[in-house]
Each structure stands twice: as structure tokens, then as C-alpha cells.
Symmetry: C2
Subunit: 214 residues, 2 copies
DNA sequence: ATGGAAGTGTAACAATTGTTACCGGAAATG
DNA sequence: CATTTCCGGTAACAATTGTTACACTTCCAT
């Protein structure tokens, strides 16, 4: 168990300076989260900032009618910009964070984050890089939603999903895909069928196989 | 001219600690920008971080086809989160910043920003607050674009515009509105006409008068 | 095995938005 | 004053997306 923790922290050693790593080792907590679990819901106030050590997290926005929209994934070594800022400002979350796969997460108490900003330049850089990357991703999402049509959004979504999982097989129902894109199951089925006819992919129950020329 | 500069800085005194204000006074520059001028374009790297002292700025995203979409306004005392992060990471901008009205801007050299983060807690707080607010606004934009229909977006847009200018008169052509919403002039004309029939507003050439029950 | 739930395919239709085209009036320009 | 440009109204149509409904299959649980 302890060696595992050390292993995880080793992954962060290229990012953070030694003194900070030492603090991470003693002052933070490692948490295990199961796939599908919710880390934080909209409106909740967060108590600690997470760094993803293993697995993939998902950050999404849910509108008043309960409709969902995927914002971005949090991969290994990454964190969530919104948590940083929410933490530091003690604000409640405007998004939902959940575990896309089983996750191992490093939980950093709020008070540390704040002092580390002044103390460790590697931490400051990490925070700023995270914020910048997330801004870029959210703006990319805006591009998709504002300017792209559903067929292209669907394709990009599946490609991203495939990249995350490292497989050309996507294990999702049409309903789940529709939810993440903020649209309707029938629309997704329709577009997927068209893509299958165009030999871009193969459809199975609960599964989609992406072909090379997608 | 010097008294003016001092006046402007006085506006910031509730936000920043005295020592930081002193640094602001000696180490920054005040710039005047005309309405419509571009402050930064997509792809450009920024050289200084702006704080808006007077006037209103506009931050928008432009897609590959040249279509525009308004992200948010920068009002007095505010700054742009994207500039902070871009500055600190020396990244090029992914958005366009321009002057909505004539603006007076405080330009802060990049190198200062970075050290201030460690030095002044009021600065750190200002930066974090700005980032948080902008995230919220961008996510609000996502909500609009992803979940709302054009009529509601149009109404929200005009209300925001009216709030910014402090007037129920909006001096814009349908084309300009369409551009900022990322849609088509005919669509805007159509929806505006419907709103006029519903007695929500009055239409004139280059001008829209919002009525109370909009 | 069998009944029910879940997932998919599809049709039919509505609603929204985008596109093109053309007209007429208002403003600007000389 | 004449000409041109800009702005808005509107029709007609296309394309996209949303909605409802229903059939059929697969899977699961009792």
C-alpha cells in the first residue's frame, strides 16, 4: 500500500520540485474511486483539490432541465482548473465531476494549495498550466457546440473517447452518447447508422467499432 | 494627466493592498484605446496584462470560417483571465480582445505579474477571482449555445448589452448582432420582428429600443 | 423457459435554423 | 439632386435537429 503510494508520487516527480514532493507525500491523501462515482456535483463546495494519479475523470455541465454536456476529461497527472479556483475562492462548483474509469486520486487539502502558490514555483506553474489547458478545452467545446453540426461533434466525441480508452471499441449505448452530447438518442442512432453505411464504423449492441477511415 | 492616472488607480484601492498600489503607480503604463480597436487577435502572443480602468472590452472567439462568437465583456476594474494564463505561460491567445467602447487600460508587464503572485495576496486573490468569474461566464456561454434556442439567446444578448451600456437603446445593426451570436442576419431580423409584434421591443434603423416586458 | 427491461432501427412529422434572393426605404456621397 | 451603399423585411426553400411512436431483438431475472 505504501509502496503503491510512492509509485504514484513518482509519476509527479518530473512536474514538481523535491521539497513539494516531500510535502505531497506527508500531507496529502490517496483516494480510490469507482467508475461512475460522482466526485462533486453542481452546487457542492469542494473540500480538497484532486490530482488524478490513475484513471480518467470526467467534467460535465448539467443544465436546468437535467441535460448533460461533456466539458473535458481529466487524465493522469492532470487536475481540474475549476477545482483550483473554486477551492481558493471557497465557491461552489458549477460543474459535475465523475469517474470515467476506476480512479486513484491525490487529495490536497485546500489550505495547502494556497500557500504553495507562493512557495513553490513548480506548483504555481502547474496550476497555471492546468487553468490554461482547461480554458482551451472549454473553448474548444464552445467551438463544437456553436459552430459544428451534430455529425461532426459525434465523430470528434468518438475519436476522443477512443483516444482516452486506447481502443477502437467504444462501449456505450446510443443513449449515453446522446446524453454526453446534450442531444437525443434518435439523432445519435440516425447519424451512427449513416456512418456505418459510409463504412466509417460498425454497430453492435452496447458497442461501436471505429474503422480506420473515420 | 498625472492626476487622471492617480484617479484611475484610486479605483483599484479597495482591491489591492497599499504596497501593490504603489508598484502599480510606478511600474505600469496607462493606455488609451478607441472603440472598435483590436487589443489582441487570435494567435498573437500578448506582452502585457490589461486591467480595464474605464470603458468596456469584449472577448470573442472566431472559428476557422471567420464566424464570431461573443464570450464575455471586460468591465471596469476587471481583467481577462485568458491573458493572465497566456501571459504566465507565454502562450498565444485563442481569442480576440477588442474595445467595445473607448477604453483606458492599465498595462502590467508580464514579469511583474509572476512575482506579484507570490508577493501580494491581494493580487493572487484578484487573479483567482478573475479566473473563476471568467470560467463561470464561459460556461454560461456554453449553456446558452448548447441548450438554448436562438430567440432566448438573442434576448439574453440584448439584455446584457443594455446592462453594459446602461440604456434600453441598442445601437447595432441586425448583422452585427448576428455576428456576435454566430448566426445569420435573416434569422436575427426574423426573431426581432416577432419580438416587436409581441411588444417586447421597438425596431428602428441601426437601433433597437427594449421595452419593459422583454 | 418466459416475461420484462433495455437497446436499436426507422418512419413520420414538427420545429428550428440556415440560405438565397429580391424589394424598398434610409443614409451617405458626390 | 442623383447615385450608390447600407439596412431591414420577407418569401421560399433546404438542412438539421428534436419528438413521438412503434417494431424488433437481445439480455437478464425469476
Amino acid at each position: 500500500m505504501f509502496t503503491q503510494a510512492a509509485d504514484y508520487l513518482n509519476k509527479l516527480s518530473p512536474i514538481f520540485e523535491p521539497a513539494l514532493l516531500a510535502e505531497l507525500e506527508t500531507k496529502t491523501m490517496i483516494m480510490e474511486v469507482k467508475a461512475g462515482d460522482t466526485l462533486i456535483n453542481m452546487g457542492q463546495t469542494i473540500r480538497a483539490t484532486p490530482i488524478m494519479l490513475k484513471g480518467v475523470g470526467k467534467v460535465s455541465r448539467i443544465n436546468d432541465d437535467g441535460q448533460e454536456l461533456l466539458l473535458y476529461y481529466v487524465k493522469e497527472g492532470e487536475s481540474c482548473a475549476l477545482t483550483f479556483t473554486c477551492c481558493m475562492m471557497a465557491q461552489s462548483s458549477v460543474v459535475r465531476g465523475s469517474a470515467e474509469e476506476d480512479c486513484t486520486i491525490l487529495a490536497i487539502p485546500i489550505n495547502l494549495m494556497d500557500s504553495w502558490m507562493a512557495e513553490y514555483s513548480s506548483w504555481k506553474k502547474y496550476v497555471m498550466t492546468t487553468i490554461l489547458n482547461r480554458f482551451n478545452e472549454v473553448i474548444k467545446t464552445i467551438d463544437e457546440v456553436a459552430f459544428k453540426k451534430m455529425d461532426e461533434r459525434l465523430i470528434n466525441y468518438m475519436k476522443e473517447k477512443s483516444k482516452i480508452s486506447g481502443s477502437s471499441l467504444i462501449n456505450l449505448t446510443h443513449q449515453q452518447i446522446a446524453d454526453e452530447l446534450g442531444t437525443n438518442r434518435v439523432v445519435v442512432s440516425r447519424l451512427l447508422k449513416k456512418l456505418e453505411i459510409d463504412k466509417k464504423l460498425l454497430l453492435y449492441r452496447n458497442q461501436i467499432k471505429l474503422l480506420k477511415d473515420l
